[in-house]
Subunit: 291 residues, 2 copies
Amino acid sequence: MELIDGNRIAAEIVSDLRAEVAALPGRPPCLALVRVGDDPASVSYVKNKEKTAAAIGIAGRILLPPATISSDELFALIDQLNGDPAVDGILVQSPLPPHLDELAVFRRIAPAKDVDGLGTVNLGKLAQDDDTGFVSCTPAGIMELLARSGVRLAGRHVVVIGRSLLVGKPVALLALQKRAGANATVTVCHSQTRGLPALARQADVLIAAIGRAEFVTADMVKPGAVVIDVGINRVADPTRKAGYRLVGDVHFPSVAPLAGKITPVPGGVGPMTVAMLMKNTLKAYRQQHGA
Amino acid sequence: MELIDGNRIAAEIVSDLRAEVAALPGRPPCLALVRVGDDPASVSYVKNKEKTAAAIGIAGRILLPPATISSDELFALIDQLNGDPAVDGILVQSPLPPHLDELAVFRRIAPAKDVDGLGTVNLGKLAQDDDTGFVSCTPAGIMELLARSGVRLAGRHVVVIGRSLLVGKPVALLALQKRAGANATVTVCHSQTRGLPALARQADVLIAAIGRAEFVTADMVKPGAVVIDVGINRVADPTRKAGYRLVGDVHFPSVAPLAGKITPVPGGVGPMTVAMLMKNTLKAYRQQHGA
């Protein structure tokens, strides 16, 4: 078994991006990070993104509207960022408070600044194999992890567990694309799938993105398979100071010995998501500045 | 084995649409059909669509630019239709002559009039499970055929052979949606898939859309499976007056005895595509008129 080190690979990307940004002629790229309220996980995600942006030389503009912000007020804020020529990319951190329609918020972001790739136009471009669009950061990070770990997808069977808009569907579309690094056969399973263990066991590459702690067990993994764990779940753990520990969607202790390669949680997909957000921000900057 | 009669099911839809259109208060819906040049298959498709529109009471506006039309001229024509309040839906018949960029042409159609559902916004809405968009007609027709034939997809395994923008990808996204009539587990195979026969043999519902005459043979079909044949291929046949006959992507003689249900070619998916185009046109009319 080989551990896929997301921290190391993300650090490589960050380092490449730092060099690219340093070489830009004009002002640095600018990423607006909008965090509504103060959900503890969101606080830590946004802090992380801010830190990584700073390390690269991307200017972070942090906006922290209260959890009580109305839909119209949040739209107005996004419209202002859409129209601001000093802002290249916009990310609204999810999850949003329940009174806000997350999809409507994602859609409000101008496609040219939608560096999280969850708006309608960028999803459509993904389905059209058009790489001028922005691919949402977690799926893009997964593809990059696989490529940089020497995993060839062409003709091989990728099984995705989970069909979310954020991960399952876009990573399936990516792996299926007709281009170098993709060309996989793709199966998408989910909570309603019958016979999921047997299907998962067919995977050459198994991507777990179902949002259930340690859902994938050894009986669902073919020996030698590549296992990508997208889950970040908190499970109660009284032995920890925080009272919880983070686990993935994969039961790591039983699956790791079987797998050919596997990502840990934390330190697998997570850091890649942040790195790809920065890569998308630089792309947005270049597209808007013709640089 | 039960034959899924696309002609009969399409005729039911056409009859329902005729009643709906007759009950509309104002002018009838209007569908612009653009055929570039005179590719023989396109001539017959457009004629068919024109006839079906007329039977329903949808006004057809037929535009027949020459095969030599430039990209800019075709864009100008589409822009004019986009801006014309008397036109509700626009279809540009594919295939287009090779000097025209098909995707760019599809994208030029205003999303609200894109009744063929191949533009970026409508594909994005499909990925977002948003049913205000237009789903391209062949995939929508396949879903309707399955629903009206009593095939329940929830939890069952749909295997799609082919990953085209027109059929394979949208039908996979549709079958995967989280809504009644969908919720399938979905696998997409294609020309680069390894071990395709064994994968196809797992299908409860097998959708053949690879564009190769009689590609699916008996060894690729589980006994009792539902088989949907999207292919329309001409194969030389000197015993026919026309010199050819139409066959699907399925080798019907050997597969039909095995299948639980199967669509014939012609008379299966084909007529459904036309019926769904009309349904989308009425939807476009209603959305634009608030009727």
